[in-house]
């Protein structure tokens, strides 16, 4: 039995939900970043699966290529921000970043 479109979409959904839970519950700033990576990968699986199984054709693959490149850029900037946060607070716990709280 060949894998169908729904199989790919289910894998993408699992990765997306895991990423969202990771972003919501992890208190380590780097852990939140990992959740973002998981979410982007779930979206990428959907793009490539639609590119294979529907009339979307090559466009889905081009989109996922852009997603990969922009995710790399986002990780670089977020890591720089995390390092700055660590220099100022001496921890990476995101719950400590509450200076803007009213």
């Amino acid at each position: 039995m060949q894998p169908s479109l729904s199989n790919y979409l289910l894998v993408g959904a699992v990765l997306f939900v895991c990423g969202v839970i990771c972003m919501a519950t992890k208190r380590n700033g780097i852990g939140v970043l990992m959740g973002v990576e998981l979410v982007l990968n779930g979206a990428n699986i959907n793009f490539v699966a639609f590119s294979k199984f529907t009339a979307l054709g090559l466009d889905g693959q081009v989109f996922s290529l852009f997603v990969i490149v922009l995710a790399a850029a986002e990780a670089a900037v977020a890591l720089a921000i995390a390092l700055n946060f660590y220099n100022n607070h001496l921890t990476i716990d995101v719950d400590r970043g509450n200076k803007l709280k009213g």
């Binding site: 060949q2 894998p3 729904s6 199989n7 790919y8 979409l9 289910l10 894998v11 959904a13 699992v14 990765l15 997306f16 939900v17 895991c18 839970i21 990771c22 519950t25 992890k26 208190r27 380590n28 700033g29 780097i30 852990g31 990992m34 990576e37 998981l38 990968n41 990428n44 699986i45 490539v48 699966a49 590119s51 294979k52 529907t54 009339a55 054709g57 090559l58 693959q61 081009v62 996922s64 290529l65 852009f66 990969i68 922009l70 995710a71 790399a72 850029a73 986002e74 990780a75 670089a76 900037v77 890591l79 720089a80 921000i81 995390a82 390092l83 700055n84 660590y86 990476i92 716990d93």
Partner: protein, 198 residues
């Protein structure tokens, strides 16, 4: 073929779940490598060879190494493990399971093949694209290169019209964006020189 899909899909899902469950940040990085590598395997299985190679090179080889460096620079002694309270984990898990159930029921409720036929009939799009058939499956490097240069021979040859848009402008925007981001990241992460008050 199908057994390979099962293996990679299971590894991707279990790796993602292990990222959520594990408390140590270094173990999270390891499970993320497993998950993203399996996603690259799924890309190879779905005829997207270049995307799979890019996933391995950029994500697993670049972004994750960057994350591991971030862990190395920020995880000191008592902050190796930052625990989440059990109540928060329970609530997040329940909401996540509900959301997953909703997405599962939605996906399995859609007739994908029927909607594809409808789209093909309504828009007159070619159902398959040239250079995308079984003879050259997975060989997407040349069509992708043309697409980011603004040419779409895969669409134009199939439909007979010369109107398909390429991706030259997004490609240029992405390249300038990368340049700006890298300069900005090195500016943000630079070693600050403390200025003495005169």
């Amino acid at each position: 073929m199908s057994s390979m899909f099962t293996i990679f899909a299971l590894a991707a899902c279990l790796g993602a779940i292990a990222v959520v469950i594990s408390q140590s940040i270094a173990r999270m990085a390891f499970w993320l490598i497993v998950s993203l590598g399996s996603v690259a395997g799924l890309f190879f299985l779905s005829d997207a060879d270049f995307i799979g190679a890019a996933q391995l090179l950029i994500y697993v080889g670049g972004t994750l190494v960057l994350l591991v460096f971030g862990i190395m620079l920020t995880a000191s002694g008592p902050y190796m493990k930052i625990e989440t309270s059990p109540a928060e984990t329970m609530i997040a898990g329940m909401i996540g399971l509900l959301f997953l159930f909703m997405v599962f029921s939605t996906i399995s409720g859609v007739d994908w093949e029927g909607s594809r036929q409808q789209i093909v009939e309504a828009t007159g799009q070619p159902s398959g694209t040239v250079g995308f058939d079984d003879n050259s499956e997975g060989n997407t490097l040349r069509p992708l290169g043309f697409a980011v240069l603004g040419l779409r021979p895969d669409r134009d040859l199939a439909s007979g019209q010369n109107t398909s848009p390429g991706y030259l402008l997004p490609f240029e925007i992405a390249s300038v964006h990368l340049l700006v981001v890298l300069i900005g990241a090195s500016y943000l992460a630079r070693a600050k020189r403390r200025r003495d008050v005169a």
